[in-house]
């Protein structure tokens, strides 16, 4: 199909979609409606479970299976991406050169890296109380580590990034989620049931299973995203096919 035919086809479809979708939207409850039956029930359930962050309560307690699926997608994607970006038979690995970094950047990095890592841990640990949780904290942890790349260089990043361990940590995080799900079955309740003591409302230990699942997700996401970024960095900086003649320095 020619480019213009394709675009004409799209416009025809888009016009139909726009008209019918607009028609449908007029049938929706108004923006800002006060009727949210499921939402109201979820808030009540969250308070019963002594979890101050209702979103965490939904993600890790009420609809924990969604999160289990989501973490499995993350696990599968990390696994798939590392498999897809593995070194093929006809590729060789170049050695990246150490780059020069301004002293001020280095200093900023030295301050920022531990700060970001601490923030990440804090956000994971307080997921049941305040905005944030395993996923957000995990991403911040992973991004914080990569500030080393900015502050120092790729070789330093490689040294402080034990990929073999992180691979396993990623799997362990995913496994821990499933294993914590089994806790309910072992206690004679349902899969993923929040059977641990719920603690005091508003405390860091409140919410029963929620902080533990949060930690599992934090470990999985943190190590998973590092592994993910590592495969991309590896491709962008190091791997060359036999015919490529590019150099591996930083730009």
């Amino acid at each position: 199909m020619s480019r213009s035919a394709r675009i004409r086809l799209f416009w025809a479809a888009a016009v139909v979609f726009a008209v019918v979708y607009t028609l449908a939207c007029t049938g929706l409850p108004h923006f800002g409606t006060t009727v949210h039956p499921y939402g109201s029930r979820a808030v009540a359930a969250s308070l019963r479970q002594r979890t101050a962050n209702v979103v965490s309560s939904i993600n890790f307690d009420q609809r924990a299976l969604d999160t289990l699926g989501e973490e499995s997608i993350l696990f599968a994607s990390v696994l798939g991406t590392t498999a897809l970006l593995r070194h093929a038979r006809d590729e060789r690995v170049g050695r990246p050169r150490a780059g020069r970094v301004l002293p001020s950047t280095r200093l900023l990095g030295l301050v920022m890296v531990p700060l970001t890592l601490l923030t990440g841990v804090y956000i994971v640990a307080h997921g049941q109380l305040s905005p944030g949780g395993g996923f957000q904290g995990g991403v911040i942890l992973a991004t914080g580590l990569h500030m080393v790349y900015v502050a120092a260089d790729y070789l330093v990043l490689k040294r402080i990034r034990p990929l073999g361990v992180l691979d396993v940590a990623d799997a362990c995080g995913a496994g821990a989620f499933v294993a914590l799900g089994f806790a309910g079955l072992i206690a004679g309740a349902a899969f993923l049931q929040n059977v641990l003591p719920l603690g005091t409302f508003g405390e860091i230990s409140s919410g029963g299973l929620v902080p533990l699942l949060n930690a599992a997700v934090g470990i999985e996401v943190g190590s998973g995203i590092i592994v993910l970024l590592a495969s991309f960095l590896d491709q962008a900086v190091e791997v060359r096919s036999e015919t490529d003649s590019g150099s591996g320095e930083r730009t």
């Binding site: 480019r3 394709r6 675009i7 799209f10 888009a14 979609f17 726009a18 979708y21 607009t22 939207c25 007029t26 929706l28 108004h30 923006f31 800002g32 409606t33 006060t34 949210h36 499921y38 939402g39 979820a42 808030v43 969250s46 308070l47 101050a52 962050n53 209702v54 979103v55 309560s57 939904i58 993600n59 609809r63 969604d66 999160t67 699926g69 989501e70 997608i73 993350l74 994607s77 990390v78 798939g80 991406t81 897809l84 970006l85 093929a88 109380l129 305040s130 905005p131 996923f135 409302f201 508003g202 993910l228 495969s231 991309f232 491709q235 096919s241």
Partner: protein
């Protein structure tokens, strides 16, 4: 204002699809997929908005305060994660396509036809 948020979601979706239809670079097409996906966040969260509601956290708010719908937020959170990981997977494939085909232009990828 009553339907504007929902229509915005539809607009973003169509914009993303348009970008994919006209794309000349598969990396760009994957980026457009991410645009199309952001329409789902917008729809979910605007659907769950409650006039005058606050964020669903009770750390230091009275327990009877009216909140917005937390369920859609949990769904959107899942959606964000799914979107990011799928994007990573597709970008990995794009890298391999460039390596094996020497191009990322969909017009030049003619290995599978008929």
């Amino acid at each position: 204002m009553t339907v504007l948020p929902f229509l915005t979601a539809g607009w973003i979706f169509l914009a993303g699809v348009y970008g994919m239809v006209t794309s000349r670079d598969i990396v760009h097409a994957v980026g457009c997929l991410a645009v199309a996906q952001s329409s789902t966040y917008v729809l979910l969260l605007t659907v769950g908005y409650r006039r005058g509601g606050i964020a669903p956290y009770f750390t230091d708010t009275p327990l009877r305060t009216r909140t917005v719908d937390p369920v859609v937020q949990a769904l959107a959170l899942t959606d964000v994660v799914v979107g990011a990981t799928v994007t990573a997977l597709l970008l990995a494939l794009a890298i391999q396509i460039r390596k094996r085909h020497g191009t990322v232009d969909p017009d030049a990828l003619t290995g599978l036809r008929g």
